[in-house]
Symmetry: C2
Subunit: 279 residues, 2 copies
């Protein structure tokens, strides 16, 4: 990443959305004004910083900066005892922010459990309970298949096909899926899955990050800056668009090096790489 810092200023593509975790330590007001200053139109927000800054205050500041919230991260973690109540709160928060989508990271196995089928059934049960509530709030639940290396501790939904199967009992208005290049790039059936997701009208969100190695300890913060890795980002974008998807393209990168940069610089670099490798 460091060897190609920034480049010339890039006007943000209208579909570009900055997921807040990409510039994790950028305070909310700076993030929102910083995005507006660069012509960014969308942001993906996270519940914790929204709660910290205040839900109503965040919603107002988003509007004041001419931005829209493309998604709220995140609901899910259905292995936790209070998951349903917490996810209902998350749906209400998404609605208050005007976010059309709540991203669901479905949770892993409870401590000490080996019951992966049970964990997956729990996800299906939770969706059945939450989907109508989401529909009432005009929020679409977006099941995110996470890379299989997160299966035990973060998300037992590991493939796009599995996410689409979980979504299938529900109206697409209420339950969709997230296409995230970082999680799906390795899957030999990924492009078939994207086509299916399009046919079934399930693409709720499209997120991009690159895959680099070696992975860091814990494998949480090793996502690559666009262009630094081996993912065919443009091919993914074209495949998603070939289904008729015209929604935002969120950049969501968990990366210590990026987090160490000033937010505005990280955004500039991201915009430049987005223009070079995604659109």
């Amino acid at each position: 990443m460091a060897d190609r810092p920034g480049g010339p200023p890039v006007n943000a593509d209208p579909r570009f959305s900055l997921n807040q975790w990409t510039t994790r330590h950028w305070p909310m007001p700076d993030l929102l004004s910083g995005c507006a200053a660069k012509g960014v139109r969308g942001v993906g927000l996270w519940r914790e910083p929204v709660a910290e800054y205040g839900l109503a205050r965040t919603a107002k500041l988003v509007g004041d900066n001419g931005l829209t919230v493309t998604s709220l991260c995140r609901g899910g973690f259905f292995q936790q005892p209070d998951a349903i109540a917490d996810n209902k709160r998350a749906i209400e928060e998404a609605a208050a922010l005007g976010a059309p989508v709540l991203v669901l990271v479905s949770g892993g196995l409870p401590d000490g459990s080996r019951d992966i089928d049970g964990a997956r059934t729990r996800v299906a049960d939770a969706l059945a309970e939450l989907a109508p509530f989401a529909g009432q709030h005009n929020v679409q639940l977006a099941i995110e298949p996470l890379h299989p290396m997160y299966c035990s501790d973060r998300c037992v939904v590991s493939t796009l096909a599995q996410a689409l199967d979980l979504a299938s009992p529900h109206s697409p208005d209420e339950v969709g899926v997230v296409i995230d290049t970082y999680h799906l790039w390795w899957d030999p059936t990924a492009y078939d899955g994207i086509a299916r997701a399009g046919r079934e009208d399930r693409i709720a969100a499209f997120q991009v990050a690159d895959w680099t190695t070696p992975l860091p300890e814990g494998v949480l913060t090793g996502r690559g800056m666009l262009g630094d890795g081996c993912v065919e980002l443009r091919r993914f974008r074209q495949a998603v668009e070939a289904t008729g998807y015209t929604g935002p393209i969120e950049v969501e990168i968990f990366n210590e090096e990026l987090w160490a940069m000033p937010g505005a610089d990280a955004l500039s670099l991201t915009l430049s790489r987005f223009a070079e490798h995604v659109v």
Copy 2:
């Protein structure tokens, strides 16, 4: 692992095979006599220590200890320019050891490449070139799907379905697949894949290790001792056996803590956990 060291001595199950990398630093003669002393009948050997000790010398010592070589690890790495010649040597080495199976780790993307389809085509092409040569040597090539977290740098074959598709043009005598619990446990289609592998007579090897988190940096040495993680090892073993498979069950664990133990202690622990969690 450390909190349950050993337990009472366990007589080795006749299907148990110790993959050499589980006790990586155990010198070859000690490994072979140590296995024989505990009633172990099979070992999975690796090319590097075999070459170091000497191919003919290893083959003789295996026989002198009443052991058989259940598999040789490993061929593959087809992204390398000399891959075909090197894999032919590996096939000859397997034959010289009396190993019925050569495990293939198919290789990742070449440095700087994003062409995952090309890398996968290269695997198919290499199999076509190598399968007849393997057949002539009575060695079965065993395509090992590796966990998707290794897709970019070690193995672009990431699922059992994909491995079976790659095997399909070839005779099962020449090309089969490896079922390894560590690599496959997360896959929602794993049990369907095992049944298919059985129907298609492709199960060349069955390996077991457990999945634990957090993963270490580089994610190579984080495999869990049997019973320490969340994999349904017994369910996997039963599913493999339900297809009619009666071959060896190899324990292959890459784990720094295990490697730090004296070889005989590591084997005792492995045998005890195998009896507790696998058979």
